[in-house]
């Protein structure tokens, strides 16, 4: 599994490989998040815009600010941004320019 963040605009964003067992844990946690009947994606903006994992078919699941958008266009809630934070915590040291709290504050 590959994970990454949406942070830069011109430069390439950081990406990293997630060990299989950690990825399985993220997947299991994702399935446990409550589905939302209706939601809108966050508006595009400059700065930190979320963390993502790439699924087996190459599409991405993006988490940002309490919402998770799956490749089928559906949404799940991410209470306390826990799942988003869990993705960020899989990044090897030095890959991200700052920690999760600083990213969330951008």
């Amino acid at each position: 599994m590959t994970a990454g963040v949406l942070l830069y605009s011109g430069r390439r964003d950081p990406e990293w490989t997630v060990p299989a067992e950690v990825g399985a844990g993220l997947n299991a946690a994702l399935q446990g998040l409550p589905e939302l009947a209706d939601a809108s994606p966050a508006a595009s903006r400059l700065g930190y815009r979320g963390a993502w994992v790439r699924t087996e078919d190459g599409s991405r699941v993006v988490a940002f600010n309490g919402l998770v958008r799956t490749p089928d266009g559906r949404f799940r809630t991410d209470p306390g941004r826990a799942w988003e934070r869990a993705i960020l915590e899989t990044a090897p040291a030095g890959v991200l320019p700052m920690g999760a709290d600083a990213l969330f504050a951008m």
């Binding site: 949406l6 942070l7 830069y8 605009s9 011109g10 430069r11 390439r12 964003d13 994606p41 508006a43 595009s44 903006r45 400059l46 700065g47 815009r49 599409s59 991405r60 490749p71 266009g73 951008m106």
Partner: protein, 304 residues
């Protein structure tokens, strides 16, 4: 004979219409007849009708038409009126324009006890219509009859179309094309970097370095563009967060700017959710340094 009165007031709904006969018809013809000399002519009131704009929204006058009835007969009164005539602002307008004897004939027709009561629209309609009559008189007074220059040219005729759906496909196009791709309107699917195609990619995130890379890609530095569109090509703007990242905006055909933050969606809003008339004053988040305007000549630029 009878007279049909149509209140020319609506745009989508059918205009209300009533037919008057007998004493009410006589009364209407009397009010529509030419003013006698002296007091009826009214001081300062022109005997000739003003030009009446017909294509406006709201009340535009009364249309009076002669209609035949089974017991129809020609009447002397109103003989000078054409078979169909528009009355507005106290004047018969059109072919034989002139003032009406009663300058308030429209208010009389539209009053709750006037002929319009036959349409059964109620007092609320009468009240609104009478307000409209007065409003239309102001419209006539202020109407600009001079030639109006039609804005045929778009503000930035050569600028790319604002077609966010094309970029925001949540797949191949969106994820693999960044602000530089979007700014130059060039899909490379490589997350293009200024200067990379020319072998002169920036070495640091500074205005000077990123601009030099873009110039190597054949963008034209136009620092004095001052948010004005070029005659050919389209205008882009470079901003940087020093040491952090660079970002590009592009000016659209309507004069506003749009941008695509990295692999996320193209948008016409800044970080405060506002439209972007000028990237120098937009909320750019951490991209604090405005570097320069540049021109993208279509077909000249090569990016990778």
């Amino acid at each position: 004979m009878a007279l049909r009165i149509t209140v020319d007031i609506f745009s989508g709904r059918p205009n209300p219409s009533v037919i008057v006969t007998g004493a009410e018809e006589e009364d209407l013809l009397d009010r529509l007849s030419p003013p006698r000399r002296g007091r009826e002519a009214g001081e300062g009131r022109s005997t000739r009708a003003p030009r009446i704009p017909e294509a406006t929204l709201g009340y535009r006058g009364l249309i009076i038409e002669r209609v035949e009835t089974a017991a129809g007969r020609k009447r002397k009164r109103g003989a000078d009126l054409p078979d169909r005539v528009r009355v507005a602002a106290g004047y018969v307008v059109g072919e034989r324009s002139r003032a009406t004897r009663d300058p308030g004939v429209e208010e009389w027709v539209l009053s709750p006890r006037g002929p319009i009561r036959l349409a059964g629209l109620g007092e609320e309609f009468s009240g609104r219509a009478i307000v409209e009559v007065d409003r239309f008189r102001h419209v006539i007074d202020k109407w600009h009859w001079g030639r109006v220059k039609w804005p045929l040219r778009k503000i930035c005729a050569c600028a790319p179309l604002w077609e966010p759906g094309w970029w925001n496909d949540a797949g191949q196009v969106q994820w693999n094309n960044n602000c530089y791709n979007y700014g130059t309107n060039y899909r490379s699917d490589t997350y293009a970097q200024p200067g990379l195609a020319a072998g002169a990619m920036y070495n640091a995130i500074t205005c000077a370095e990123v601009k030099a890379g873009a110039i190597a890609d054949a963008l034209i530095d136009t620092p004095k563009a001052n948010n004005k569109c070029p005659k050919e090509g389209h205008l882009v703007a470079l901003v940087v967060g020093p040491g952090w990242d660079f970002h590009w905006y592009r000016k659209g055909r309507n004069g506003y700017w749009t941008h695509k933050p990295g692999g996320t969606q193209a948008t016409d809003r800044d970080n405060s959710g506002n439209l972007i008339p000028d990237p120098r004053t937009a909320d750019r988040g951490g991209y604090t340094d405005f570097c320069t305007f540049m021109v993208v000549m279509h077909g000249h630029v090569k990016i990778k």
